[in-house]
Symmetry: C3
Subunit: 387 residues, 3 copies
């Protein structure tokens, strides 16, 4: 597999070679499928936004992502490129889950995974398993809302919640595995909340109310969300923020990253990583120019846009300094996604930057530097890797 | 006229041939001009957003749509491509209205018109006339707000409004002509209203208030708007929704389709057709991935963007499954618009999908399948045509 | 320097020649640096959105704008294209400020500067100095909020504020230097305010409150902002409006130009010039189609997007009539920006319109006409230049 198949003439040679070989840091990813999945489950897992089974009148293979799976993953599994959906699914089903993952991950060229463990189940690999299957190390991201829920669900309940939350973050800041935190405020409150740092008494009261609620605990008090982010930032922990594209449980318009302005202006200036961002990636790029501590990626969307990721990657290179963008796949489940994020990003970067070089708008050395910054160096700096 | 004039090398042969010949379902269109129009009227009719005459300092031909009319319609009327605006207008004025329509419609390659009759006047053709002029059948769409207004304007006024509205929808659901409904909430309330299904008593009271108002009845009570949509959905009738691009009577930012999320989550899951959508087409595509029943098109904008419709069509192929997008022109008045919607869409699809095929990102067979889905098959499924 | 270096084959000859030579009206610009600046100051001045020094971990040269400076400005200063950032900065530092400006401005091909003097300091040139350095005349724009502040800061304070503001505008309307006004409501209130024309008593009371406030006067009362705009419009003065892209003091989402709809609907219909507009340029283009008096540009962003300005210029040519778009650089400080705005716009227009011509979507004469309208003729009409 060559990521520049069919477009060789559009990507200058040295740039192409660097893009083929650069070891990426996938700075936001989840586990790969640890169990066999049926056709319906697989189709549902390649639709990000819906939370329902794919309806009978269609197949999710009829999508940009579906085309990309058939084009890029089929050959890795020994089929011709563009094998039919049925052929592809039959072939992938011949592999045991671990074998499928190790086969696909071997082609991703990812040097380090930074794994969000906040939504793990027994259906997907742990960071340790992902590292073993790929032969590459995995760091982890602590999801702030999940931490709060675990503390409130423990036998101590809401007692001393403020202190216990802080102690857990102190431990995280000392951990060598945990390199950052994440908030899913997008799913729990939207971004149009009061982001001022709350007082301890208010937090404690809200924690008690949350712990006393009926049914399974689902943290959605904006004061507790804001508390988590500020506490992480105070400890120097990078904060990943889910922004934009996601499943329909969120109100997409309430995840416009511009609504984070009050937070960005008042928080301790630790690295903030705006994740995904589609279709608000231009807004995210603007914030990355406006605030020293703001960074962003267009992960997840790169996969789901398939060949159209070229346009997305181009738009992501508009206003943000090149030191402020990162690579991620946001893959979850099918290891096709862990691979495709890398393939599609490399190809898109080659086509976009190759166009710049061919028009004389930058040198090939400039283009390679941009690839290295976004592909790995920025993430290494932000998360303190390799120090 | 060949829709691939000048770009023959960019569109693979079989894909090009399919795009030249595929019979489209124009799933949202209005009548063609039934009367002669002067230059000022014509210029105003090719500006969608303004509600005023075109100002003296300019001509509306100086626009992307104006360029496309001169390029594609002039040859159909026997002029060279790119004839001047004056030459073009003089030539079109030599035709009687019916002759002009039949001449232009003959080149549209539309197999079926689905006509919104909610804003018809004696100045445009009826669905029957459009069918006669084109030699192709026409189905109709029932505009919900207009239905309510007609009932309230009748001698019965607001008496038994709830029952009479339901009866009218029952009849529509039984009709062979009517294949769906439409809401213009965008123009009447914006989308940021309470979309919960209202109770009958509330609806009856609002209907009385509306009927008792001064002056001509203009339905703009959000409860009555929501009532109409829920009643249509309960009967299994597809619901078209005007979204985005339209005239300045609407508040464009209040027609972001993401503001429809509360409705999409609570309504009976009949097909919802988000119309036009520009500049919110990426948001519409996301909704089409997120909800089984949501579909969208980029009609109207394809015409008004002229040659730039290529970029629009590309962006519309980002996150939505290919089974969830439809073709429409939203033409109203000049039959140039009924033709151009088709020409520009075919050309744009050829350039976008042709690029995918040439880069090896999908097969030509895949591309043809996408054309057939969006051009006709999805509409046939959604509206139950050909069953 | 040839603005079509590297893309000669993509721009037809006559169009290219017209774009090389057309004398632009830069309808919104500021002064050039009048003093020597150090590296840190220079880097900060090529980041628009941040208000802080560029952080140590990066250089602002690693941005689209930085690449464009090295590509286009280096040769003008006698270096090879793509000279390194260090080489470039060392070279520019060899020039005295006036020499640097005159060297770079000589290549801008701007026939007239229309200078916003509302944020001038001794660090940048006056309009007279800019005219002298470039050999081209300068007109000026009166910033409405600054006028109000000056009146309130004078020894008369808030006494007779309404009358004095009106007298100042009467004088501006008679002035031959002042050709228009500007509002920075984007920075002071956002656009989501009550835009109805206020009564004199209300204005007078607000003026007293503003003058009595503690500390240096900063006009941010929405009534005073709306008052200024309506008074300018009543006198027939064009009104420039900062929209979108700007520094982080503004709330970007509250500068969506669609939020200006209430103003556009109720104001006297003098020319309104929506400035910059990124990333809301599609919304701005829509408003320019919807309202006779609305015009827009994509200045500032053209510079900061560097080579990606091609995509921006393409999107700006979607729905607005060609008579409703203008050229500006919005350069402030480094004279590189006064030059680059012109270079990048000419190049982008050549690539976009050249593509239209090559595909047969318009004639070369059409394309040249579009260039002349946007480059100069629309500004001449709007500001009454050359009458």
């Amino acid at each position: 597999m060559d990521v520049f198949d069919g477009v060789e003439n559009e990507v200058p040679g040295e740039l192409a070679e660097r893009l083929r070989t650069v070891g990426l840091i996938d700075h936001h990813v989840h586990g790969a499928s640890a169990v066999r999945v049926g056709r319906a489950e697989f189709e549902a897992s390649i639709n990000e936004a819906s939370t329902a089974p794919v309806p009978e009148f269609m197949t999710q293979f009829d999508s940009p992502l579906g085309l990309s799976i058939r084009r890029w993953c089929a050959p890795v599994l020994g089929l011709p490129a563009h094998a039919s959906a049925d052929e592809y699914f039959a072939r992938r089903s011949e592999f045991a889950p671990a074998e499928l993952s190790s086969t696909l991950l071997a082609h991703a060229g990812v040097e380090r995974w930074i794994v969000d463990t906040g939504f793990g189940t027994e259906l997907i690999t742990t960071p340790e398993q992902l590292a073993a299957l790929s032969g590459r190390p995995a760091s982890t991201i602590l999801r702030l809302e999940r931490l709060a829920e675990e503390l409130l669900e423990s036998h101590s309940g809401a007692d001393d919640f403020v202190d216990r939350f802080r102690s857990a973050l102190d431990a995280a800041a000392q951990s060598t595995d945990i390199v950052g935190t994440k908030t899913i405020a997008a799913y729990r409150t939207g971004f149009d909340i009061d982001w001022a740092r709350p007082g301890d008494d208010d937090v404690a009261a809200r924690a008690r109310a949350a712990a006393d609620g009926p049914g399974p605990l689902r943290l959605q008090d904006p004061v507790l969300v804001a508390f988590g982010v500020h506490e992480a930032a105070e400890r120097g922990l990078p904060v990943q923020v889910h922004v934009g594209f996601g499943d329909r449980d969120l109100d997409l318009h309430r995840t416009d990253p511009l609504l984070l302005l009050p937070l960005l202006r008042c928080m301790a200036p630790v690295p903030v990583l705006l994740l995904h961002c589609y279709p608000f990636h231009r807004q995210a790029g603007y914030l990355a120019q406006a605030f020293d501590h703001v960074h962003f990626d267009v992960g997840l969307a790169v996969n789901h846009l398939g060949t159209r990721s070229v346009g997305l990657v181009a738009e992501a290179l508009e206003t943000a300094p090149f030191a402020k963008q990162l690579y991620s796949s946001d893959a979850y489940g099918p290891p096709e996604l862990h691979l495709l994020g890398s393939v599609l990003w490399r190809r898109a970067m080659g086509l976009v930057l190759g166009g710049w070089v061919r028009a004389g708008d930058c040198t090939e050395i400039d283009a390679i530097r941009i690839v290295e910054l976004i592909g790995a160096q920025n993430a290494a700096r932000v998360y303190g890797l390799g120090r």
